[in-house]
Amino acid sequence: MKRLSIAFIMMFAIVLSATVVGFANPKEEVKPISVERVIEISEEINVEKGIINKPKDFILSTVNDAFVVSGTGKENDKVTITLYKRVGDEYVLMGESVELKIGPLGVFTKELSLKENDPKSPKESVISKDTLLVLQMKRGDVVAWDYRLIKFSDDKEVKKSLDAIKLSPLTPATATR
């Protein structure tokens, strides 16, 4: 009887630990994105403005070395914004992803810098070439949106894009999923 009780307790502990592991939410590893994949997406977008796959509900604006991502969702939606830069044949993570939780207003907005901190130099480097932004919105466990928003292929293109934004109001690009 004693052994049976111990076995029951052990089994209960195993089940319990499995349940705990099941609820744990380890941070997903951010994998590099291949250049081929980005090019594949880029074919769908307005390269002239440096804006890729700009969805209807997400707004992008900038005047200098920073830009703002804004959008709408529902209360408690979670938004993850990740910046990548191109290294060889891959786009690798530029830093920590930014996570936002949408409040009762049902909107989110985030300013991000296009400047990249170079640990070898105390000064900030110029705007990175080939910057890629990935935005993901989760409603519960369901991914509501997952878009690649910008790719700046070179400095000139960035400047052109910035000037265009300075001179005229942004017109929403066609959304593609």
């Binding site: 707004i59 207003l105 300013e111």
Partner: protein, 442 residues
């Protein structure tokens, strides 16, 4: 000594003494203090005394920044253009909100007046004759284009849009340099969320403004100088009483003129002389007289702005009631109910009464790290239900559409400290949210 000679000397001395007393009574040979003031003295400084809360610089569509005009020097440049445009105006036309917004997409300077100011106050401050140029409410915004457009534009608090036409270009000198001040980019709400609103009110990401623990402007070293600058040489003949609670009361000529200063820096002034001698006073004169007086009584080099001027009438006596708010580093300071902390009544060419709070910063309280970014939206989210209770809305879109202005502000707390806030005009309600923690100040 000859009896007659003694009588003559006595009579002569009595005449001399009575002349001296009469001259004191009717202020013939003594300085009168500043209750009467002079427009000539304020010709240069008056435009500083009626100025906007903030100046928006637009260098193109959706490329805007906001200046906090700390000492009014930027506004002074704009005021010169404003004065000449209003003087030479050829026509006045009401335009649509849509047309007004289109004008705002071009290179321009936008002056934000919160609370809105009357046409008369604007005219008075620019030394134009008492102005009335249309059946519309108070002016909440003035747009001065910096391109080929020769008109200037007004937005009123009753949501009318007025084009004031004039033949010359409104070129504000040094405009291009205004922007070289390291100012932050300001976004319109519609730029962020065009799907749900077309509101062009500008907001910034940051909330960087310190609060202050304050103290009375008056202390043992400066109180006599402040009283003397108000009363002039009459102060030598005045009675001074120190009350148990620390208040100082000075009365001149058996209470004809009274000043009371409390330890908290509250000032009460009354001058019966203004009841006696009828004299017509224009709005411009009233503005000058009130500003002279407030600057004289204020011991520190504080900056004051006149926000309201209303007609005053009591019996046969007429004049003006002026509401004056202090600017702390260019930011408006008010009471919790949004009213300015100083009220002056000018009648018959002099200050009739003043009631106000005069306090100065003692210790700075840093709020800068309270909100990293998106301060305005976070404040709206944190106070969502409170705002909804005061100013009903169904959707966020409706709430955004109702936002009429977002400005930095200082508000006196119940213990008279200066609390850094965002002042938001939403619909017909004014909200103050503390920058420290987004709590409702009012």
């Amino acid at each position: 000594m000859n009896k007659g000679l003694v009588q003559n000397i006595t009579i002569f001395l009595l005449i001399i003494m009575s002349l001296i007393l009469l001259s004191i009574r009717f202020e013939l040979f003594i300085t009168t203090g500043v209750s009467t003031g002079s427009i000539a003295d304020t010709k240069v400084s008056l435009p500083y005394s009626v100025r906007p809360n903030s100046i928006v610089l637009r260098l193109g569509a959706e490329n805007a920044t906001k200046l906090i005009d700390t000492n009014g020097v930027y506004y002074l440049e704009v005021a010169k253009v404003l004065e000449s445009s209003l003087k030479s105006r050829t026509a006045l036309e009401e335009i649509s909100q849509q047309d007004y917004r289109k004008k705002k997409e071009e290179k321009s300077i936008q002056l934000n007046f919160e609370p809105a100011i009357s046409q008369r106050l604007l005219y008075g401050s620019l030394f134009l004759e008492d102005g009335y140029f249309g059946d519309f409410g108070k002016i909440s915004q003035i747009l001065v284009p910096q391109n080929y457009d020769t008109s200037i534009y007004f937005e009123t608090d009753d949501e009318k849009y007025i084009e004031v036409k004039n033949p010359t270009i409104n070129n504000v000198s040094g405009f291009e340099n205004f922007g070289n001040l390291g100012q932050r980019k300001y976004y319109s709400i519609s730029e962020r969320f065009p799907e749900i609103t077309d509101n062009d009110v500008l907001i910034s990401d940051e909330a960087r403004l310190s609060s202050f623990v304050t103290e009375s402007m008056f202390n043992e070293e400066n109180i006599d100088a402040a009283l003397r600058s108000v009363l002039g040489s009459k102060y030598d003949f005045a009675n001074k009483i120190s009350e148990i609670d620390g208040s100082t009361i000075v009365t001149y000529d058996y209470g004809r003129e009274i000043i009371k200063i409390s330890p908290q820096g509250k000032v009460f002034y009354y001058n019966k002389e203004a009841e006696l001698n009828a004299k017509r006073t224009t709005a411009t004169e009233a503005v000058a007289i009130a500003m002279n007086f407030v600057n004289a009584i204020s011991p520190s080099q504080a900056s004051y702005v006149i926000e309201q001027i209303e007609d005053y009438k009591e019996g046969n006596r007429t004049g003006y009631v002026l509401k004056i708010a202090r600017r702390v580093d260019g930011i408006r300071l008010s009471l919790k109910n949004d009213e300015p902390a100083i009220t002056v009544v000018v009648s018959n060419g002099r200050v009739y009464s003043l009631e106000g709070i005069f306090r100065t910063q003692k210790v700075e309280v840093d709020n800068n790290l309270a909100f990293g970014e998106n301060a305005v939206l976070l404040m709206l989210e944190q106070n969502y239900d409170y705002i909804k209770g005061k100013e009903p809305f169904e959707t966020t879109s409706e709430l955004f559409d109702k936002i009429r202005s977002v400005e930095y502000a200082y508000v006196y707390s119940s213990d008279y400290n200066m609390i850094a806030c965002y002042r938001m005009q939403i619909g017909n309600s004014t909200f103050f949210f503390k920058i420290e923690n987004a709590e409702v100040m009012r």
